[in-house]
């Protein structure tokens, strides 16, 4: 229970970038899993994969529901980008830079399209295999690879726009 809670909460948090929303979504995931437990078939993959699939569907639903709110919020987010660029240049400590980078990566993640974001989160943060991601997203392996590749490149471009450059 605790292991699954932590994993699902992390997926939700990385996808939304908001702790409160991640809490609500994690709770919704468990509620849906509890209600649809009878529909789980082990032949379609492990329980964790099935749970991740439920999480992904809920995250996409949530993304569509809150799309309008984000359009107005994105205009306000333009200012911190410039501040981040300056702050990175000012901080010499490596650990602080790493922490700063983590925050910027998280921020950049939320700007990715949901299809690319979920693929990157599942692959690079949750360390899932391609076959597992294929089951979760219900798309062919080629599409999974393509999304992961495009997601990484897009994320790098966003970080560059935010002023984050490789050392």
């Amino acid at each position: 229970m605790r292991r699954h809670t932590r994993r699902i909460f992390n997926i939700c948090y990385r996808f939304t970038g908001n702790r409160t929303e991640a809490e609500d979504l994690t709770q919704d995931v468990f509620l849906r899993v509890y209600r649809t437990l009878a529909s789980y078939r082990s032949a379609h993959g492990g329980f964790a994969t099935w749970m991740t699939s439920v999480t992904r569907n809920l995250l996409i639903d949530h993304y569509r529901r809150t799309k309008r709110d984000r359009v107005t919020d994105s205009l306000d987010d333009a200012m911190p980008v410039v501040e981040n660029k300056e702050s990175v240049a000012r901080r010499p400590d490596e650990q602080a830079l790493l922490g700063e980078l983590s925050g910027q990566v998280q921020s950049a993640l939320t700007r990715l399209s949901p299809e690319l974001r979920e693929a990157v989160i599942l692959r690079d943060l949750q360390q899932l295999e391609y076959i597992e991601i294929q089951r979760v997203l219900e798309v062919p392996e080629g599409t999974v690879k393509s999304r992961i590749n495009r997601g990484r490149i897009e994320l790098a471009r966003i970080l560059q726009q935010m002023g984050v450059r490789p050392a």
């Binding site: 509890y34 992961i148 990484r152 994320l155 490789p166």
Partner: protein
């Protein structure tokens, strides 16, 4: 093998994940090292991957698990609570417990003098229960003391009689020879009306003598009664 910028972008993840074969890997490296567009691209994506891997796991808040349990198992328990409770009544442990409790209550009520044939609500008042219980306890105690006392006397008499039967010599010595010539049953100096009466009188006389022997305090009065 010739390698293009489009191929670099398309196979970048394969390169970073180590999925390219040797020939592709060599061609990829040769192109990236000489291409002004692809070099920063690969560097930035590799840096981004490092940033992704550096992201630590976020700890969920402690109350989340409780909230989840409440939202899942808690809801289900509420929904099926009544039926679960009904099912629990079928368990032998509950039946035994209920029977024991009912028997105890019935016993206590009976002990407090509750009238089962004409039950009244007033009988269940604490003051009434206390008064009746107190009265019943005293009555029960008195009866018990009397019963034990009677039992002790009876056993004592019985044991002495048995001893007397076994040792007739002792009995003869202990029986007072108050009036051997006088016949029992003849208190008015007249003959008994029938042999049956004479036998009965003899028997009572013999028992009185035994009692007088066993309880010397009473012997005087018993003997006095025999002699008018």
């Amino acid at each position: 093998m010739t390698w293009t910028c489009e191929q670099t972008e398309a196979r970048l993840s394969d390169y970073l994940d180590g999925l390219l074969d040797a020939a592709e890997w060599t061609a990829f490296n040769q192109h990236v090292n000489t291409c002004a567009v692809c070099t920063p691209l690969v560097a930035s994506v590799a840096h981004t991957l490092g940033g992704l891997y550096a992201l630590e796991q976020v700890e969920p808040p402690p109350h989340l698990e409780t909230a989840i349990l409440l939202a899942t198992v808690g809801v289900a328990r509420k929904k099926y609570d009544f039926w679960a409770w009904l099912r629990s009544l079928q368990s032998p442990r509950f039946v035994y417990g209920a029977v024991s409790v009912a028997a105890t209550i019935a016993l206590l009520l009976t002990a407090t003098g509750f009238n089962w044939r004409k039950p009244k609500l007033a009988d269940l008042a604490p003051a009434t229960i206390y008064r009746r219980a107190d009265s019943n306890i005293h009555v029960f105690y008195g009866r018990s003391v009397k019963f034990v006392s009677d039992l002790r006397v009876v056993y004592e008499i019985q044991s002495r009689i048995n001893e007397g039967d076994q040792n007739p010599a002792i009995r003869e010595e202990t029986i007072p020879q108050s009036s051997p010539k006088k016949e029992p049953g003849r208190t008015d100096n007249t003959n008994p009306s029938a042999p049956k009466q004479q036998n009965r009188a003899n028997d009572i006389s013999r028992r009185l003598e035994v009692l007088a022997c066993e309880f010397p305090i009473l012997s005087g009065s018993l003997v006095d009664r025999r002699v008018p």
